[in-house]
Amino acid sequence: MKFDAPSGPNPIDRMKVVGRTTSRIDGPVKTTGAAPYAYERHDVVANQAYGYMLGSAIAKGRIKRIDTADAERAPGVLKIVTAANAGPFATSRHNTARLLAGPEIQHYDQAIALIVAETFEQARAAATLIRVDYARVQGRYDLAAQKDTAPLVGGSSGEGSAAAALRTGDFEAAFAAAPVKLDATYSTPDQSHQMMEPHASIAAWSGDELTVWTSTQMVAWAVQDLSHTFLIPQEKIRVLSPYVGGGFGAKLRIRADVVLAALGARAVGRPVKVAITRPQTMNNTVHRAATIQRIRLGCDREGRIGAIAHESLSGNLEGGRPVTATAQTRLLYAGLNRLTSMRQAVLDLPEGNSMRAPGAAPGMMALEIAMDEMAEKLGLDPVEFRIRNDTQVDPEKPDKRFSERQLVRCLRDGAAKFGWSRRPMRPAQRRDGSWWVGLGVSSAFHNSPAMKSAARVRLEPSGRILVETDMTDIGTGSYTIIAQTAAEMMGVPLDMVEVRLGDSHFPAAAGSGGQFGASNSTSGVYAACVKLREAVARQLNMEPDRAVFESGHVVADRRRVSLADVARGGALTGEDAIEYGDMSRSVHLSTFGAHFVEAAVHAYTGEVRVRRMLAVCAAGRILNPISARSQMIGAMTMGVGAALMEEMVVDKRFGFFVNHDLASYEVPVHADIQEQEVLFLDEADEMANPMKAKGLGELAITGVAAAVANAIYNACGVRVRDYPLTLDKLLDRLPRIA
């Protein structure tokens, strides 16, 4: 189905199932432990051996000699696989760092060997017997040290990507002439995804055919990447990933677990399973790279932005991609004179890659503090300042509009709901016992990409509907919204729908990432259901456009036939994909929101505790309010982590992330999160897709950390521009203890 005109009325508008609060249909199997995750697929193939990954002890250099003799003789060991004996394999073009290295080492904890043994414990114990002589080379580990020398780059992914600096109008002249100016530099640290389920895979070969049970966000991409890696056609690869314990971008592309499992399985002639251990996830896999961002704002005295510049620096391995931190700035606020640019330093740290709202999240962490600082200089309320600079068109291309843009309403409704009017304009005014208390706000903004997505829907002789698509459910609720979509389209109750996901033998869906999953995958199911409805109508000689599907029946021209009767003679199938035409590129399909935060800062110790949070969002039709809310509050929690604690600290001498476990890389716990509220504005985006829905998984985190930082400033008067805002950065500037 080609979607190239506003959708108009369609069966989803009935909203009998779609849009209703619906508990996850996969909830029972997950909460009872019956949903198998990749490492637990003990039953899928017999005789599984265990692989344990050995990572490099140095960040840069070469392996001079690797002695595996003792390890090979250790109890239970079947094989030690290294780059030297692994047989032919390549690096997928979507991986910058090699997934099995040697002799050259590109980063710390890069895999250099896989120990395959009868048990996990045997493999892990044998790893300590491998002796490696390294020739260590001094690498580049300090982003700030390359601030002045890193070259300009364009991004190769995501909106906002471009070569060199982007200019609209004359930023320098307008900034120089502006009566009120801000010029500030912000930094965001390296962050780790730390989803619940670390990367894990089981691989089995049958001749030259490879089957992997893995944990991936993108089944079709995994097939492509494995095809590149093992130099075999995609048809010979099957990827299964029906349950995924989170990913946050870390599982968009294949990682060492699946490649090592396949290499190990090839070497020992048995299925091999490999999990990346929790401490290994931080240096072995990918992360959100640190940024240093300079923002300049020039305003007139009424608070209208006339000049806006956002320049970002990030680092990555040679050939890696930059953090597109300036992308949101290009579209969020008005202003005639604009400058955005990205620089990228080459760093010999682990690979930087996508993490929830890549680019947008760290970019908004900086931009939305800058907006708060400018509002203060202007003497304006920060909500009002944002509203004053709203734009209904693309500021760089004024001909291009947003399909929907309700940022102002998000800000206004949120302010009213949150009690924003009680916020003191000056900081450090409100004290509650030993705590300073303040309020902060930020905008939220992210585009919602239109991506091709396919599905197959079958009407079974029982009258049940079976949906098959390689879409993944990474904890977001895909199973449920897909079932809701099929139930709505086919006019059956939810429990008459079965959804099968995460198998590369199913039609290829958009996958989970970039807040493109929900809207596109359900639109693909919509398209397949349209096909199935046509097949049903044809079978009954009904006019498809006049057939109404309701209560398990198809009704037209005073005929009413149960779906079970239609399929009695054999199942009927509809298969199709949603595809997008020029219309989707002619407008910005965007989502907007506003975050409000109440934070308390301990007057003595500088500890920060977030007390209340509110998000108001406009993100198209909300397919399932309960799972949408869960995604929102999860991202708000992640934003609190980004604001207050999350930082992978670089040891600049040795080039690795030092705090590589969950005791030292802290993320928020329940006690950190008090009250969270989420409001969705009514919006059905006719330009987006037939579901009239957009994404919100990325939107949800944009701006959160800045709202926390702004609340801290309002509470205690200390402005911190370097994340995370730990108490040591507040302590010496807190108000005197009365």
Binding site: Y604, D651, E666, V669, H670, A671, D672, L727, D728
Partner: protein, 317 residues
């Protein structure tokens, strides 16, 4: 994890003899720290002597009017004991400020005293660490040291003792009772129990090989206001940046100990004596001679500010 052998001891002295007689043997109590370190192959015992059948899980009065806490009393049991909550509230508060409910259900009184440092370089076997591998050097010095020690450290090691419970035990002047492989018992004041690192950071306590903690005794209740204030980066389930255990009397006297700054719970008699003079003097005496790094210099003023919060809270009561 290396393969290891395992036995369940029947009596404290038998357990002590079993560990003393087997090279590389270790006691296993709650296992909340030891098993994690074994999985990371930082602890590589050859033999585990499980203590769970020894009893040692009772809390009873001593003839002196204090309490004797069995070595295997869990953190949960100790913190929820009504007598502890009434008479030694600082101890109950310190315990519940640490770890999680699940861990406290497993963790034991003796095991908690022996928990090892959380220095990130200790946790990475690729890095030199004098504590993990004596003589290999210390990667933490000159590295990321925000969480590490500011006082009582050495040129060989700047790690801290990370726990909470022991800080309260220090302020209460608890005594650690042990039995050795020959069956001889002794009592070690908590002030002397944990060692400063010096040149031998791998030797963390005064315990001799095979010597087993059987109980911890608390002196008669001190009365006063009991406060445990733990400062951390998140609201729960985090190791202390610093912590203050205090028992403060109505007359303005009292005692304080600080956690998260040193190889042991840090208490200075001269600082206790200065309590009537206010938090500034107390902190100055506690932290005299501190050698912080750039990363953790904030801990020195943080100790003073937290002491001020604690003393303000006590006087407000």
């Amino acid at each position: 994890m290396k393969a290891f052998t395992y036995e369940r001891a029947k009596s404290p002295s038998e357990a002590a003899a079993a560990v003393a007689g087997t090279p590389g043997a270790k006691f296993l109590a709650g296992g909340t720290n030891l098993l994690d370190l074994m999985k990371l192959q930082i602890e590589i015992p050859t033999h585990l002597v499980d203590l769970q059948d020894l009893g040692l899980d009772r809390i009873e009065k001593t003839p002196e009017g204090g309490m004797r806490v069995g070595a295997l009393v869990t953190n949960t049991a100790l913190a929820s004991d009504p007598r502890v909550r009434r008479d030694y509230a600082v101890l109950a508060r310190a315990i519940v400020s640490g770890a999680s409910g699940q861990l406290r259900n497993r963790a034991t009184t003796a095991g908690n005293l022996l928990q090892r440092t959380r220095c990130p370089y200790f946790y990475d076997p690729n890095q030199p660490c004098n504590k993990r591998q004596p003589g290999s050097g210390c990667a933490a010095i000159g590295g990321f040291s925000r969480q590490l020690g500011v006082i009582g450290t050495s040129d060989a090691c700047i790690a801290t003792y990370p726990g909470d419970m022991a800080v309260a035990l220090r302020v209460l002047d608890a005594t650690i009772e042990t039995v050795d492989p020959q069956g001889a018992t002794r009592a070690i004041p908590i002030a002397d129990f944990h060692r400063l690192w010096g040149d031998t950071p791998h030797i963390e306590t005064e315990l001799k090989p095979g010597e087993l903690i059987t109980s911890v005794t608390l002196p008669r209740p001190l009365g006063g206001r009991h406060i445990y204030q733990k400062v951390r980066d998140r609201a729960s389930y985090a190791f202390a940046l610093i912590s203050v255990a205090a028992v403060l009397q109505r007359g303005g006297t009292g005692r304080v100990a600080v956690g998260g700054v040193a190889p042991k719970p840090w208490r200075v008699p001269a600082a206790d004596a200065a309590i009537p003079q206010g938090s500034g003097t107390v902190a100055a005496r506690l932290m005299a001679g501190a050698r912080p790094t750039e990363d953790n210099a904030f801990k020195v003023p943080l100790v003073e500010r937290t002491l001020a919060a604690v003393m303000t809270k006590a006087s407000a009561a």
